[in-house]
Each structure stands twice: as C-alpha cells, then as structure tokens.
C-alpha cells in the first residue's frame, strides 16, 4: 500500500499539467467517470459489503441492511 500511495502521490505532485477548461473534454467522457453505471455499482458494493468483513471507501457509509 505504501508503494501504491507513494506512486500516486508522485503522479499528483510531480506530473500535473495545467489543463485549461477547454482542454477537459476527454476528462468529462462517460468512460472517465468514477462509476459508469450507478445502479450496478450500488448493487455491487452492497453485495461485497454483505459478503466480506470490510466495506466503505467511496464515501461515507450509508444505511444498513440485514443482508446475510
């Protein structure tokens, strides 16, 4: 984890370009979003949280369910 975090920090601190607003077309593409299908992502995260001992990450934890 330390190596991965270090790598990503290095990308951010050393590799950032100044990207003008009119140059951000690619970044707003559907395939560049953090989640491409919200309904599918919600279900997928719910399944993992129900079947594994850990959860969370993409935001604050929400309400629970009795999923066994």
């Amino acid at each position: 984890m330390k190596y991965l975090t270090g790598l990503l920090l290095a990308i951010v601190l050393c590799g950032c370009e100044t990207v003008q607003p009119w140059e951000r077309g690619i970044l707003s593409k559907d395939e560049m979003q953090w989640q491409s299908n919200v309904m599918e992502s919600r279900l997928r995260n719910q399944v993992y949280a129900s079947k594994e001992g850990s959860s969370g990450g993409p935001g604050a934890a929400g309400g629970g369910c009795g999923c066994n």
Binding site: M1, T18, V38, R44, G59, G63, G66
Partner: protein, 386 residues
C-alpha cells in the same frame, strides 16, 4: 457518444449517491442540474453456489438466491436544484451457515446450514436533492430500507468544491443511520428478539486533474458502529457492540485515444479495531466502439481474520464468531459490462463471477468451511426525455 449518455451518467453520479456518497470531479455537469429528466430500470440476479457435501454436515446444500429490481428517476427542479429517486426491491430465499462444528472422523470443521427456510423481501427508497453553485454542489439524502426483520433510516450530507483553476476538487460527506433488528422467529433460536444499531460515518476526498487524459483521487473515511453487531441468526455468534473502521483509498483514470478506451484502477486499504484489515484492487478496461461500450473488469480482495474468529470455540473468550465473513481469505471476481445506445434509449448488461479461497489471501489465518462463491448478472434500460 459524448452527449446524452455522458450527461446521463455524469449527472447520475452526481445525484444518486446515498449508501456510498460519491465525491469528486464531476466535470462541468457537477455544477449545474441535469438538462433533462432521466429514468432507468434494472433487473439483477444474485446466486450463491451450493455448499459442497465436504464442507457441510447433512450433505450438499443450497445457499442464497436473490432477485433485485431497481428504478431511478432524475429530474431538474430549477436552475440550481435537482432531485433524484432510487427504489430497489429484493426477494431472497435459501440458506446460510448457522454454525460450524467439528467432524470427529475427519477431524475438520464443517458448516451446519440453517436449512432452506429463509425467505425475505427488502424495499429501499432513497431520495437525494442537490444544490449547484458556481464552484461545486451540495447534496442531502434520505434512505429508508425495510425488510421483514430489519429497518434502516439513514441521512447524509455531502459537498464538493472546485479550486479556482478547476484542477482540484475537495469533497466531504457525513452520514448517520439508525437501524432496528427484529429477527424472524422460526425453527432456529436467534441471538436477540429486538435490538438496535447506529452507524456514524465521515469521508474526505481530493480529486486532481493530472493531465488532459488522466485523473487521480484520494479518500479517507472513518465509520463508527454502535449497538447490536452480532449476527442474530448465527447460533454461536457474539461480537463486540462497538466497531471503529478506517479506509484509505485511491483511484486513477487514464484515457487512451488510439484504442478509444479508458483504464480504471482503484485501490482501498481497510482497517478496524476488530483486527480485520483488508486490501482491494479493482481494474477495468472501458472500450468504446461507436455506440457500444465493452468493459471487462477484475477485482482482487484479501482480508485478515477478526481477533475473535475461530471455526471452533475452544477457548473461553469474551467474544466469538465462526462467520466466514470474519475469517482470513482472498477473493477474485471478474466480469464484463456491455452498454449500447439507440436514440434516447440505452440498454446495458453485466455479469460477474466471485470466487474465494483461504490460500489466495495475503494474510494467514484459519480457513472457514463457509466461504461463499457466487454469480451476479443483470440487465438495465435507461431513457432520456430529451
């Protein structure tokens, strides 16, 4: 392909967050409500593999089988506001591990299943309203979930602010939920008749534009659970009534113009005061061919066992659980997502296979005979009133 589907997904990402509040860089759409009303529906099937005769007393046994229907509506309310509604229905049946016993002849642990007697339905309604301003947005969400044996009410607030140059987005979210547990009484005794559980959570995130074709984000979260955290249906389960959890996460998106595809890499480290730590890596390739998108993905997950996990309760400890979800294991899941646009319609489908093994984990521990493997697949349809 830019266009309506892009807008739909970006605004959906911005608006339909609830159980997992979504942060971060949302492009220009994050600072303005959607232009059109959008609706979508989806059906999914979740099916766990049978547990084998080698791992269960009483022979091979069925496990969970769940049908899920989802619906959403997203609509602009004014120049500055929008509202989103998410509804889901689940119908589940099957069996789950009741407790673990020791096989005398083979000297190993096997699961005693609850019997194929579990039937339950769940309905969840989630409403999000969001306000947009020049440099960001702020959202408020209420989610209500009701099952035969479980009720949850959750509130959350989230917000994102862009830096002056628009290259960095700072996000934050807080949430609180109050849950009531009233286990169904049947052939098997339960660990409580009526109990409550509260969850409080906070999250901070930073998203950075790295280049014209790359984004990165980091997140930190803390979650505090308080109340009845024991599984009411597991015979020997007895867990602490408090749990503190932390996560550190990172994500990366990189676009390659020549194949017209995007690489997604996400990582999460989890730690808690029950002794569970876990690492998750999720990688996806999103390939676009004109109106069709094909996206294979693979996920690796590994967790350590809880301090009080053991298959057999040999020692007189304060707490005990033989729940496979608190054991050490590794899991691979892999699958494919497809989507296709036809005019104002968008159709999508996906399938995922999830497999587990104690030896696949990076943490050592006692292998649980109850580890789960499953298939999940779904189809969905979206429409834009454009």
């Amino acid at each position: 392909m830019a266009s309506r589907q892009d807008d739909l997904n970006k605004t959906l990402v911005a608006l339909t967050s609830s159980a997992f509040l979504l942060p971060a860089y949302q492009s220009a759409m994050a600072d303005a409500p959607p232009e059109f009303t959008e609706i979508g529906t989806r059906y999914s099937k979740y099916k766990e593999d049978d547990i084998s005769a080698k791992k269960a007393f009483g022979g091979r046994s069925e496990r969970y089988d769940i049908d899920v229907a989802q619906f959403y509506l997203l609509a602009p309310v004014s120049d500055d506001w929008s509202v989103a509604l998410d509804v889901s229905w689940e119908d589940m049946s099957g069996a789950s591990p009741w407790f673990v016993g020791e096989s005398i002849e083979a000297d190993d642990a096997k699961v005693i299943m609850s019997g194929a007697s579990i039937e339950d339905t769940r309905t969840e309604v989630s409403v999000t309203t969001r306000y947009y301003f020049d440099s960001g947005n702020a959202g408020f969400n209420y989610t209500y979930s009701d099952e035969d044996d479980y009720e949850s009410k959750a509130l959350s607030l989230d917000g994102s602010i862009n830096s002056e140059d628009g290259l960095t987005t700072y996000s934050a979210a807080v949430s609180a939920s109050d849950d009531d547990i009233t286990p169904t009484q049947g052939a098997y005794p339960t660990n409580t008749l009526d109990a409550t559980k509260d969850v409080r959570s906070a999250w901070l995130g930073v998203t950075q534009i790295v280049s014209k074709r790359a984004l990165v984000r980091f997140g930190l979260s803390y979650t505090y659970r308080d109340g009845f955290l024991t599984d009411p249906y597991k015979y020997l389960d007895d867990r602490p009534d408090e749990r503190k959890e932390w996560t550190v996460s990172a994500g990366y998106r990189y676009f390659l113009e020549e194949p017209n595809a995007a690489l997604h890499v996400d990582y999460r480290y989890f730690d808690d005061d029950w002794g569970i730590a876990s690492q998750t890596v999720d990688v996806a390739w999103v390939q676009t061919f004109k109106d069709t998108t094909v996206s294979p993905f693979i996920r690796y997950y590994s967790q350590d066992e809880a301090d009080f996990f053991s298959n057999i309760d040999y020692e007189d400890t304060d707490y005990f659980s033989d729940d496979y979800r608190l054991s050490a294991f590794g899991a691979f899941s892999y699958g494919l997502r497809l989507s296709h646009e036809i005019g104002n319609w968008s159709i999508n489908a996906d399938a995922e296979r999830y497999q587990t093994d104690e030896s696949w984990g990076v943490y050592g521990g006692e292998e649980s005979p109850g580890l789960v493997e499953f298939w999940r697949y779904g189809v969905g349809l979206n429409y834009a009133f454009k």
